[in-house]
Symmetry: C2
Subunit: 275 residues, 2 copies
């Protein structure tokens, strides 16, 4: 999927919402538990209910892996369902992988060849050769962790070097020598509102995946004021606040309502800041 | 598994070898390809042939994930086979995970509860709350990336802060406030021989997992001279040089030879430097 494809979808739908499919068997509504594959049944219903309000889906691999072989089957079925029924949706495998070259190449093969997923989140700690195998696929994307939204982001990401450059800034700057904004996005946590300006100074054109809206507590307005560029440049994720809006038989309907509400706010943000 | 269990195994077998199960279907000997599960058949033969020469096995998750559901089944069967037949072996899931708290908790559940694996490699970029969910399991280990052996390790890990502390040193120092040497090990790349002294200054007691012997080109003698402590303190991995010693029908026999050769060198190293 090209950057223009993503921009076109945002323009057409007037939303830049990503729905996080962090599907936990412990939170799936009881009436689905008799289904042959409750996780897939849940995801399918959530996708059908929310697709018109979002431009991307982000299954978090941990939630599927924690169920072993069964979980992996649910994950693959979810991807196939999205590809067949909503081919315009940008699919993000939230895997936070990153390993030495030949191992990263295996992960890339898994996500990009076997499953034909559009993008994967990658951790930068091991440097260029841990990231570059993901960059050899045309139309596929790396979403590199830069500044995350969790408390532990302060432990290392904000450490400044002798010249005053913080680690997340070095990641943003260095990684731009590996790929362009047509293949590379960054994970930037939404609870760090004031830092979006610093990030846009280094990476004005890149799409930023913002994971911290909703349960993680970021403000959409602040993210957009400081983070939006002329092509929108933001994909804002919400997981729990949407997919677990209800745990009754009305879960899909309520998820649609929650997604629509966020999409309505996003439309206002696009009118206000996307220029 | 406790630290004493690991030390006891090293003392008894006079080896600190870890065999990396980076099993690639493209490299499995042709005569195994008709097997119902060639990856598991290969692993089983390699394990049976090498168990007396090593104290740990390290399946690399990427190699299993790249084969989707099938690969995950082979991975689970390999773990079960090890637990049932070689319960003294220390099992390392080389996964390099690391995510926000609730997601790391899912990974921990996957590796420690579902599969009862002894340890998992974790990436430090996201800080304490991405690591701590792995530390809530008694007898289970986190092996944190500190200084890796790949070229890209220079991109960020060696960056010094204003006080001259390099990122890998900050990871070593900071993470010791999260857990003791009874739960925490570090990944330290073997191609960085002279850096082992710096590491031992900060982490004298911790076990270090050294991935860079063999195909990745580190020297065992140099690692031991600078890295060994009175309890050995080293687990040195070799993958390709052992498991792909031959791709004929004699692959297991040749793997045993290769492992025995490394173990023989390790015995000498223990006599020389373990004091």
């Amino acid at each position: 999927m090209t950057r223009q494809d993503i921009v076109n979808q945002i323009t057409k739908k007037q939303t830049f919402l990503c729905v996080g499919l962090d599907t936990d068997i412990k939170k799936v509504p009881a009436h689905l538990l008799n289904d042959e594959d409750p996780i897939f049944a849940f995801n399918k219903a959530i996708i059908d209910a929310t697709a018109q309000y979002c431009i991307a889906y982000k299954p978090n691999l941990a939630f599927y892996e924690s169920m072993g072989v069964k979980g992996w089957i649910s994950f693959e079925k979810t991807i196939k369902y999205l590809k067949q029924n909503y081919p315009e949706q940008f699919i993000i495998a939230d895997a936070k992988r990153g390993d030495i070259g030949n191992t990263s190449a295996m992960y890339a093969r898994s996500f990009f060849e076997e499953l034909d997923i559009d993008s994967v989140t990658v951790a930068p700690y091991m440097g260029e050769d841990s990231v570059s195998p993901f960059l050899t696929y045309e139309g596929k994307w790396v979403i590199l962790l830069a500044l995350t939204s969790n408390k532990g982001s302060h432990d290392f990401q904000l450490t400044a070097d002798a010249k005053g450059e913080r680690l997340f800034e070095k990641v943003l700057r260095t990684s731009q020598t590996w790929a362009t904004a047509d293949q590379l996005m960054y994970v930037v946590g939404a609870t760090q509102g004031q830092l979006f300006e610093d990030i846009r100074r280094i990476a004005p054109d890149h799409f930023l995946l913002v994971p911290g809206i909703g349960a993680q507590g970021g403000s959409l307005e602040e993210v957009c004021r400081y983070g939006m560029n002329s092509q929108c440049g933001l994909i804002v994720n919400s997981s729990r606040a949407i997919i677990y809006a209800s745990n009754g038989t009305d879960f899909a309907e309520r998820a649609a309502e929650a997604a629509r509400k966020v999409a309505d706010e996003m439309k206002v943000m696009l009118e206000k800041y996307c220029k």
